[in-house]
Structures are given as structure tokens and as C-alpha cells.
């Protein structure tokens, strides 16, 4: 065994170290220094410090790109993972800014610490090149998110939802761990690259397929794909805004990209077919099945919702279905498409949670009817809300449109032309259905009159700024997608 070079190790994980230092600092300061201050001030300081830490981490990431393939092939850093890490930091930053000035939890220090820990887990997960590291990182982020969900003082149900989240999550994780161990048992390696080389010879072995199916479960849980989605509506409804935003945006982005890498890099030799007959097992039909189920269940169930956050949860399940469609594409196209889609989707969702936080802070319930007359009460919130919802609905020129477009184009590019046409047709059909509930959200905001007694909604300045930046990003990236994807084109 070669001696470990600790300096190199520290440099490799400098980004994560910055987050850890911030974590310690925010815990310490909140316990020691900020005790006398009001909750609003504490959350303001905690959020600001966390945000600074995230920005610094991003800076470090750009300044000292870690060496690829260290230590001993556990982690990699490619252009794609670097991009995803930056995007993750950006989404986390936007999410944590929702905490500033909020009185949602008394445990500000702990909240920020868990938030940073979850982000850290996501960052590691993205860079993992090894099944074990992948699982450890996945669990790190999941466990932090379970705890974050519970930290809501407004909702007594929060701990119940967190418990469900934890139960389902650990069941799925158990499946994944079992699946990974089966894969290891078959191939004798944890490395993605070696896995690729060895897996092809086990196609006839039922253990391989059990391993694949069980491994998929954990990731399907992470991205809230049916039938591993049941936690989502409860968590979305009661989790504190910043935590829900992280679950909905950052965690999903990481989940999709890791799943994509696992399938395209590690399991590349066993794609199977998703184009109907003749049927051939592989990850493609499995993913296609999850996609169709998610799109169907998510979109249809969303129709019946009367609460904004639950509606968002079901819509997120549906959107996960679209992203899974995109994962079926050829590696380059699928990566670009999922990157673009997941990131811009994350921007819109974080923005929506921001708007909902502002409403909740003013004591509004999250019934759709409480959005009535938002246009009159706060034009800024209404415009931002409309932008985000229209982007989710996929209305050009907002980014949501191009996101879906890229996904579907990527899916169509794989294999024979029109192999995946049926899948895209299903997705388009459900997109039409989704328009209904998205517009149902917009109708009270823009058309209905506010209840007579309500007053204008105050929006904290930092929150307003965050929302405007997010809305502008959704618009600008929709018009100039190359800003995000660089020279890579579909």
C-alpha cells in the first residue's frame, strides 16, 4: 500500500474542505456568538455565512481543479463533473439565500451545517468513480436531507414527513447497496471502468439483472421516480423552504447526473432496448419504464392537487420522467441535455420555493386559492412566479422549453431513428396534460381578485434580488442556451 500524500489529498478535496470549514464556523458562531440575537438576524447571518462558504468553494473549485483519478481511482474530475459541481454550488447558493431573514427554524446553526453537509454529499457523489464512494456520498446527502426536512417549526408534521422520507430512503438505499454488492460479487470490482470491461460476460446471469434493478431503486428514489416517489409530496409540503429547494433542485441535478454516469459509463455494455419488440433486458427498458410511470402518475396526480407545494411535488415527479427519457440518448447528447434541463429546472423550482416562502412568511396557507390576486399584492412576486411556472410548463422562450426539447431530441438520436418515438410521444402527450395544472396555478395569480382584507406582501430585499436573478436566468438561458452549455451543442 502506497503512503497517502496528505497534501495532495487536501488539494484534491479543497472544495469540500472549504465547505467543512464553513460548516464548523457556522455551528460555532451560532452556538456562541449569535445567541442573543433574534431569530431573523441569526438566520440572516447563518445564510450569509453559508452563502459565502459556497461562493468560496466555487472559487476554489475553479482555481485549484483537483487532479483527476485520485486517490486510487475513487474520484474523477472531468469537464462534465466540474460543470455539475459548479451548477450544484449555484443551486445550493440560491436555495440557502431563501433562509436569510426567515424564522422557519430555531436551529439555525444546525440547519446551515446540515445544508452544507448535504451539499458536500452531492458534490462527492457527482465525482465518485467507485461504487462504494458513490454509495457513501449518496447516503451522506440523503441523511442530511432527512434531518433538514424535520427542522420546520411552522409544521408539526415535519418530523412525520422526515420519518417517512427516511424510511423510504433507507429501504431504497438498502436495495441499492444490495444491488451494488451483487454487481461487485459478479465482477469483482467497484471501479466504473473495470465494471464496464467485465460486465458484458454476465448477461445471462439473473444476479446481474437483480443487481441492476436494485441499484436503480436508490437513484430512482433520489430523483423521485415512480414507484419510489411516495416521499415527495409530504416532504415538499412541510420541509422548510431552503431544504425543499435543495431536495428539489440540487439533489435532483446530482441524482440525474450520477445515474447518467453510472449507466453510460459503468453499465454501458448492457443497454438493452427500449424500442418495443424484440425485447432485450438492459438499463434502457428499465429507465424507460420508470420514465413512463413517472410521467403518467406525476402528471395525472398533479391534476387533483389543491395545495401548491404538493402540486409541485407531483410535477417534479413528472419532470423526473422527462429527464429519464433524455437519459436514454447517446452519451454526449444525453449529458448535455440532462445538464441543461436539470439545472434550469432547478433554477425555476428554487425560485418557486422562494415565492412560496415569502407567502408563508406572511402567514398564507399553501392552498392554491391563497395565491389569488398576487398580481395586485406584489407584482414582483407575481412576475417571478409566472416566469418560473411557465418555464416548468415548457413555454418558449423560457429555459424549460429548450430543456424538454433537448431531452427529447437526445432520446430520438439513440439507435435507429424513431426507436424512442413512442416514448417521446408519451412525454409530449403528458406535457399537454401538465399545461392544465400549471395554468391552474397561474390563474389565481394573474386573474383572480385578492380577498378584500389582504394587504400588499412585503418581500425582503435579498429574497427579491434572488428571485429576480433566477427569473432573469431562466429567461436568458432559454434564449442563449450556449451560455450554459458552452460550445457543446445538440
Amino acid at each position: 500500500m502506497t503512503p497517502v500524500d496528505y497534501l495532495e489529498l487536501a488539494l484534491t478535496f479543497s472544495t469540500e474542505l472549504v465547505l467543512l470549514v464553513t460548516l464548523g464556523l457556522v455551528l460555532f458562531l451560532d452556538l456562541r456568538g449569535w445567541l442573543g440575537s433574534t431569530l431573523a438576524v441569526r438566520s440572516q447571518r447563518g445564510a450569509t455565512l453559508t452563502a459565502v462558504g459556497l461562493v468560496l468553494a466555487g472559487g476554489v473549485l475553479l482555481t485549484f481543479p483537483p487532479v483527476a483519478d485520485a486517490p486510487a481511482g475513487s474520484f474523477v474530475l472531468t469537464q462534465t463533473t466540474l460543470w455539475v459541481k459548479l451548477a450544484l454550488l449555484g443551486l445550493s447558493l440560491a436555495s440557502v439565500l431563501l433562509l436569510a431573514g426567515s424564522e422557519i427554524t430555531e436551529h439555525v446553526g444546525e440547519f446551515c451545517a446540515l445544508f452544507l453537509l448535504a451539499t458536500e454529499g452531492l458534490l462527492l457523489m457527482v465525482g465518485a468513480e467507485n461504487l462504494l464512494m458513490l454509495f457513501v456520498a449518496l447516503e451522506l446527502s440523503s441523511l442530511s436531507l432527512y434531518a433538514l426536512t424535520a427542522l420546520n417549526r411552522r409544521h408539526p408534521d415535519a418530523s412525520e414527513a422526515a420519518l417517512k422520507y427516511f424510511l423510504i430512503g433507507s429501504t431504497a438505499a438498502a436495495g441499492t447497496l444490495f444491488g451494488l454488492s451483487l454487481l461487485y460479487g459478479l465482477t469483482g470490482t467497484l471501479q466504473f471502468s473495470l465494471l464496464t470491461a467485465r460486465i458484458g460476460s454476465h448477461i445471462g446471469d439473473p444476479l446481474l439483472w437483480a443487481g441492476l434493478a436494485l441499484t436503480l431503486a436508490g437513484f430512482a428514489f433520489k430523483v423521485a421516480a415512480v414507484p419510489f416517489h411516495t416521499w415527495a409530496p409530504d416532504v415538499y409540503q412541510v420541509a422548510p423552504g431552503p431544504a425543499a429547494a435543495l431536495v428539489a433542485a440540487g439533489s435532483k441535478l446530482a441524482g440525474f447526473l450520477v445515474l447518467l454516469r453510472l449507466l453510460h459509463a459503468g453499465l454501458a455494455p448492457i443497454p438493452g432496448t427500449a424500442s418495443g419488440l424484440p425485447f432485450q433486458s438492459g438499463w434502457m427498458p428499465a429507465v424507460a419504464l420508470l420514465a413512463v410511470a413517472s410521467m403518467a402518475v406525476g402528471n395525472l396526480a398533479a391534476l387533483a392537487q389543491t395545495r401548491v407545494r404538493r402540486l409541485l411535488a407531483w410535477s417534479a415527479i413528472a419532470q423526473a420522467g422527462y429527464a429519464l427519457v433524455g437519459i436514454l440518448g447517446p452519451t454526449t447528447d444525453a449529458t448535455l441535455a440532462v445538464q441543461y434541463f436539470a439545472f434550469t429546472y432547478g433554477l425555476a423550482v428554487v425560485g418557486l420555493f422562494g415565492v412560496l416562502e415569502a407567502l408563508a412568511a406572511a402567514g398564507e396557507s399553501d392552498e392554491i386559492s391563497s395565491l389569488a390576486g398576487l398580481w395586485r399584492r406584489s407584482p414582483l412576486l407575481a412576475v417571478c412566479f409566472t416566469t418560473f411556472v411557465l418555464s416548468l410548463a415548457g413555454i418558449p422562450p423560457l429555459a424549460g422549453f429548450l430543456g424538454k426539447f433537448f431531452l427529447f431530441v437526445a432520446a430520438l438520436k439513440r439507435g435507429q431513428p424513431l426507436d424512442h418515438l413512442w416514448l417521446v410521444a408519451v412525454a409530449l402527450g403528458f406535457s399537454v396534460v401538465s399545461l392544465y395544472y400549471y395554468l391552474k396555478l397561474l390563474k389565481p395569480v394573474l386573474v383572480a381578485d385578492p380577498a378584500p382584507e389582504v394587504r400588499p406582501l412585503p418581500v425582503p430585499r435579498l429574497l427579491a434580488l434572488t428571485l429576480v436573478v433566477l427569473a432573469a436566468a431562466v429567461l436568458v438561458l432559454g434564449i442563449f442556451p450556449t451560455l450554459l452549455l458552452g460550445s457543446g451543442t445538440l
Binding site: L167, T171, L208, A213, L214, A217, T230, P285, L300, A301
Partner: protein, 684 residues
């Protein structure tokens, strides 16, 4: 400096931007409007001067910048700019004279409510004209050519509430459009034959040897070479723009526009576009089949046509000018006549000769028009020369400068640029190998020019005030115009005199500059002296005759024209301009009217029926589709929506909040997925 020669498009851009801004400027912003227009054009003038200086470098021929614009199928259209002596001289002239006219306009239109709009139009016009002269691509040239037409339409009809002005604007636009048709056809033909509309493109341009050799080698209708046929079509366009027979009718009417417009458009620049075009296309016009495939000659069918048309126009327009009583109409006919002279110059002596006269004429004709504007402004918009008179005492500056312009136009020798440039034209015509006819006509034209200008001076400035009721309307005495109007007059007058320094055959700097270094100038021969003497005599005869004939006018306040009284029928014919307008009214307009009637009849009886039929069919199918829509589609859609919603409700109820059920989903999901994949593993 070198940079500017590459980016000469900046010069038209300045007034274009100004025009764009002024288009959205509220009309209360009067000072801003005129300030912006004048400063934009003045800056353009400075840039033009810099570009001009660059072209003075020894050995300079031209700078050409071409860039592809767009490709449609196999056709690639290029944009291109050219800076050669021809365009540089035009740039300087247009921007300089234009700036002066802009400044003059601030005084002339001081009370007009649409002042800001006026300067917007002027800027648009200037931009179009500047673009026209720097165009290397004939496509760009044509675009600017049309823009010039639009701007002139807007400016002639600037006082559109006056029916005559609206009518004149329409007439000018339509008449020049008829000419443009010829030019457009020529361009299409040229493009289809040579594959390019770039004049110069490093050997591939349509005015360069390769293309021209191809054009002269082919013969088309009437035995004309293709180059000659295209040239004649192009000249048709030039004749429309420059008011040559038979398309001259719009120019006198165009005097309905404000006088600065007349000065700018209908004297100095726009009408010069036609002459400029022939100068630009001169290689094409003069191309003839030669010993080694291509030769250049001044006896090509196109140039012969141009020379004769120009000469005849020069004389006929001068004759018309004799009998006009409107101050500006006299100048308008004079412009037509002088433009004829320029065409003769281009056709017989080469582009440098024609352009020389164009440039000097621009200065003194702008001077005359602005002088006329000053007179009109001072006399409460009185334009009838028979009601003016004796103004030399009231308006000394205007009188002095007007006299300079008049002498330049009449060809009074030595000190005035007009004399020398006209002499150059006569010299060219005299040495033209084809015929002496144009020369003789030009000399006659010179005599007539001197005559009608003297007549005008006698009526307007000499004698006593003629208007019988002058002052009875509470009008004050005529007064000298403000400095903002007289200063441009003085500057233009000074230029008219100073310009003569570089125009003489003894030091023909300007002509050499225009023709390029290759051509050696006229030698000072005995023949040249004789010609100078002849043209001097011609102008003195004209002046003397008029002074004698209008003796009564220049000494008293009589408002009768002694010659018109003695020969009323001749005067009437000339006043009606040989009845060309009436002829067109009787022929072209009547034919047009008949066609319009026929079209109206078809419209009413044939097309309307068809339209009604289609409409009924549309109604029937609309009714059908509404039925289908309501009964089948809407019903089906509603049912679909209801079942979709019901599914949603059912799915939502599955989510009952109980953890055991949730976990069951997870477990069942994992099991089913596993089974499915295992079962399907060997199917392929």
C-alpha cells in the same frame, strides 16, 4: 486615414443615424432636430474631407471593400464600398453643399411647425445620396437610388396640405420610377450575364475587363452589343433621375417643395445622381468590340444616344426657361438644361468632363436656389418675377451673391467656375468624332442660358418694385434675410469663384484628379483659345440681347414682358414647355386611365363573383366544421378530460400518507423491476 478609406460607409451612416433618431423625435424638439442633423452632416463632411485628402496621394486609384451580404441558392449578393476620386469628390461636394443648405434651412423654415420632421427627411436624403456615391455594389447603389427617390417624394410633398405639392411629389416619384424600371432591368440583365453586381472586385467586377469583354462579344436585339443594350437601359434610369427628355416633366413641378429642398435635391445632388451613374458606369457605356476583343470608344451607341439626348434637352429646356415667370421654375428648367450639358460632357469628353461641370454646377446652382429662397422668404413667398423688382437695394447681399451665381451659370469668363467647366464640355463636344451637332446645340444653349438668366436678374433685382399692392396687405418692405441664410450664400459664392482656380485648362487640377493620372490633359492650342473666345462671345451675346430686350424692365416698374407681348404664341408654347405635359396627359395618362377602368370593371363583375363563391364555400365548410367541433371533438375532449381528472383523483387517493403503503410501493417496485429484467434477459 487609411482606416477611413476602408470604412467609408461611416460617412452615410452618420446622417442615417440622425434620420433614425429624428424619426422618433417629438416635433417640439426643434433645436435638437436641426442641431443633430447639421452636426451629423458636418461630421460627415469632415470625414469626407479626410477621405478626399487620402485620395490625393500620388498613384491612388481606388479602395474597394466588398463583403458578402447573403446567399440565396447559387446567387450570392455582395455589399461593397468604393473610394475613388469620383466618389470622394462627390462626397465632399454633397456634405459641404448639404451642410450649408441645412444651415440655410434653419432660417428658411424657422416658422414651420414640422421643422423637426423636415430635418429628419433631409438627413435621410443626405444619407441615401452619400450611400449612392460610395456604392461599389450596384445593388447598394440601386437601394440608395430608390431611397433618394423616397426622400425626394417626402420632401417635395413636405407641404402636403398644398394640393399642388402633393401632386408634384406623386409626379416626381412616378416619373422617376418609370426610369428606375430601366435601371433595374439593366441591373438584372447585367447580373445574369456577369454574375456579379460589384463594379470592381479585383478583376471579377462587372466593370472590369473580363466581364466587359464578355458583354461586347454578344449581340442582342437591333444588332446592339449586349453592353450597349444594358447601357441604354441604365441611361433610361439616369434620364429619369436627371430629368432628361422625355422624363424631364417632374423636375419643374418639383419646385413645389420648400426652396432648400430645391437647392439640395433638384439642383445640387439628387438630379446629379443620373449623371453620376453614367460616370460610374462609363467603362460599360464606352465598351465596344475592338481588335483584341475590347476597346473603349466615345462613339458607342449608348454614348451617342446620351450625347444627343443631352444636347437636345439642353436647348429645349433653355427655350422653356425663356418664357417662365416663376422664379424657381426658371431655375428648374435651367437645371434640366445644365444636366443635359453634363450628359454631353460625359458622353463626348469622358466622365471627368461631365463630373467637372456637375461639381461646379452644384455649387452655383445651390447658390442660385438659396438666393431665390432668400428672395422668396423676404417677399412673403412671392415667386412670380413679374411682381418682384428692385431688390438690389433691399437685399444687397442676396443680390451680390445671386449675381455671382448668375454669371457662373451664364458663362461669364475667367472668374467663375461655371465658365471653365462649360468650356470643358464644349471642348469635349467639339472634338467628338461622331458629330458636331451636340456642339452646336450646346453653344445655342449657352446663349439662351445667358439670356434667360439676365432676364431673371432684370425682373427680380433691377428696376423698381413691381407688385402693385406691395405693402397694402400690411406687408413690410422686403428685407435682407438673416445671417443664417446669407452666410451660406456668401460661402457658396466664394466657392464658385475659388473653384475656378482648379478648373481652368491652364491648370486643370480637378479634371485631372477626376480622370486619373493616366490621361494627359488638353494642350493649350490655338483651337482652345478660339473655343474660349467663342464661348465668351456666346455668353456676352446672350447677356447683351437680354439687357437690350428687357431695357424697360430693368429701368422701370413695368411687369409686362416685352418679348412675350410681341410674340404671344411663341411665348405660350414655351411657357407650356412645348406641351409635353399635355401630351402625356392625352396619351400616357389616358391609357393608364383606360387600363384602370378595365381593371375596375373586371374587379366588379368577375373577381367579385369568384370571391363571393369562395366565401359561400367557406361559410358552408365553417358551419360543417363547427358542428363536428361541437358534437364530436368538444364532447370527446370533455369526456377525455373528465376521465383524466378522475385518474388523477384516484392516484392522489393512493397517496394516503401511510408509511406502510409507501414502503409496499417501494418493495413491489423493486421486485417487479427485478423480475422483469430477469425474464427479459434472453429474449433478444
Amino acid at each position: 486615414m487609411n482606416w477611413l478609406t476602408q470604412h467609408v460607409w461611416l460617412i452615410p451612416l452618420l446622417p442615417l443615424v440622425a434620420a433614425g433618431i429624428l424619426a422618433v423625435t417629438p416635433r417640439t424638439q426643434r433645436r435638437f432636430a436641426s442641431g443633430l442633423a447639421i452636426s451629423a452632416l458636418a461630421s460627415a463632411a469632415l470625414l469626407s474631407l479626410v477621405a478626399f485628402v487620402a485620395t490625393l496621394a500620388p498613384g491612388y486609384t481606388r479602395t474597394v471593400v466588398n463583403t458578402p451580404w447573403f446567399t440565396a441558392g447559387e446567387l450570392t449578393l455582395h455589399l461593397g464600398w468604393i473610394l475613388d476620386p469620383l466618389s470622394a469628390a462627390m462626397l465632399v461636394m454633397i456634405t459641404f453643399v448639404g451642410s450649408l443648405i441645412f444651415i440655410f434651412s434653419t432660417g428658411y423654415l424657422a416658422e414651420d411647425p414640422n421643422y423637426a420632421r423636415f430635418f429628419g427627411f433631409l438627413s435621410l436624403f443626405a444619407a441615401a445620396m452619400l450611400g449612392l456615391v460610395i456604392a461599389n455594389s450596384l445593388l447598394v447603389l440601386f437601394v440608395c437610388w430608390e431611397l433618394v427617390g423616397v426622400a425626394s417624394y417626402l420632401l417635395i410633398g413636405f407641404w402636403f396640405t398644398k394640393p399642388s405639392a402633393a401632386e408634384a411629389a406623386k409626379k416626381a416619384f412616378l416619373t422617376t420610377r418609370i426610369g428606375d424600371l430601366g435601371l433595374f432591368t439593366a441591373l438584372l440583365w447585367l447580373n445574369s450575364e456577369t454574375g456579379t453586381l460589384l463594379c470592381y472586385d479585383h478583376g471579377r467586377g462587372c466593370l472590369e475587363t473580363t466581364a466587359l469583354s464578355g458583354l461586347v462579344a454578344q449581340t442582342t436585339v437591333l444588332g446592339l452589343t449586349m453592353s450597349a443594350a444594358i447601357s441604354l437601359l441604365a441611361f433610361w434610369g439616369a434620364a429619369g433621375k436627371s430629368g432628361q427628355l422625355p422624363l424631364h416633366v417632374w423636375l419643374p413641378d418639383a419646385m413645389e417643395g420648400p426652396t432648400p429642398v430645391s437647392a439640395l435635391i433638384h439642383a445640387a445632388t439628387m438630379v446629379a445622381a443620373g449623371v453620376f451613374l453614367t460616370a460610374r458606369l462609363y467603362p460599360l457605356l464606352s465598351a465596344a468590340p475592338g481588335a483584341d476583343g475590347l476597346a473603349f470608344s466615345t462613339a458607342t451607341p449608348a454614348l451617342v444616344t446620351i450625347a444627343w439626348v443631352g444636347a437636345i434637352t439642353a436647348v429645349l429646356a433653355a427655350l422653356c426657361a425663356l418664357a417662365q415667370n416663376d422664379l424657381k421654375r426658371i431655375l428648374a428648367y435651367s437645371t434640366v438644361s445644365q444636366l443635359g450639358l453634363m450628359f454631353v460632357g460625359v458622353a463626348t469628353g469622358g466622365p471627368a468632363v461631365g463630373m467637372l461641370h456637375l461639381l461646379t454646377h452644384a455649387f452655383f446652382k445651390a447658390l442660385l436656389f438659396l438666393g431665390a429662397g432668400s428672395v422668396i422668404h423676404a417677399n412673403h413667398h412671392e415667386q412670380d418675377i413679374r411682381r418682384l423688382g428692385g431688390l438690389r437695394r433691399f437685399m444687397p447681399v442676396t443680390f451680390a451673391t445671386y449675381a455671382v451665381g448668375m454669371m457662373a451659370l451664364s458663362g461669364i469668363p475667367i472668374f467663375f467656375a461655371g465658365f471653365w467647366s462649360k468650356d470643358a464640355v464644349l471642348h469635349g463636344a467639339l472634338e467628338w468624332p461622331v458629330s458636331r451637332g451636340p456642339f452646336i446645340l450646346c453653344v445655342i444653349g449657352a446663349v439662351l442660358t445667358a439670356f434667360y438668366m439676365t432676364r431673371q436678374i432684370c425682373f427680380v433685382f433691377l428696376g423698381e418694385p413691381r407688385a402693385p399692392h406691395s405693402g397694402s396687405h400690411g406687408h413690410a418692405e422686403p428685407h435682407e434675410s438673416p445671417a443664417v441664410m446669407t452666410a451660406p450664400l456668401v460661402i457658396l459664392a466664394a466657392c464658385t469663384v475659388l473653384l475656378s482656380l482648379v478648373c481652368t485648362p491652364f491648370w486643370p487640377a480637378l479634371e485631372h484628379y477626376l480622370s486619373g493620372p493616366s490621361e494627359d490633359g488638353h494642350e493649350i492650342t490655338a483651337g482652345l483659345w478660339a473655343l474660349l473666345a467663342l464661348s465668351t462671345v456666346a455668353s456676352f451675346i446672350g447677356v447683351g440681347l437680354a439687357a437690350w430686350a428687357y431695357q424697360s424692365v430693368r429701368t422701370s416698374n413695368t411687369s409686362t414682358d416685352p418679348w412675350a407681348r410681341r410674340y404671344p404664341s411663341v411665348a405660350a408654347v414655351l411657357h407650356q414647355a412645348f406641351g409635353v405635359d399635355a401630351l402625356y396627359a392625352a396619351t400616357v395618362r389616358r391609357i393608364g386611365w383606360g387600363l384602370a377602368q378595365a381593371a375596375a370593371w373586371l374587379d366588379r363583375w368577375l373577381w367579385v363573383g369568384l370571391v363571393d363563391l369562395v366565401q359561400t364555400l367557406g361559410q358552408v365548410s365553417g358551419w360543417l366544421s363547427r358542428k363536428v367541433d361541437e358534437e364530436a371533438l368538444n364532447g370527446g375532449f370533455d369526456a377525455g378530460c373528465a376521465s383524466t381528472q378522475a385518474t388523477g383523483n384516484w392516484l392522489s387517493r393512493l397517496q394516503n400518507g401511510r408509511a406502510p403503503r409507501y414502503l409496499r410501493f417501494v418493495a413491489v417496485g423493486m421486485m417487479l423491476l427485478t423480475l422483469w429484467l430477469i425474464l427479459g434477459r434472453n429474449a433478444g
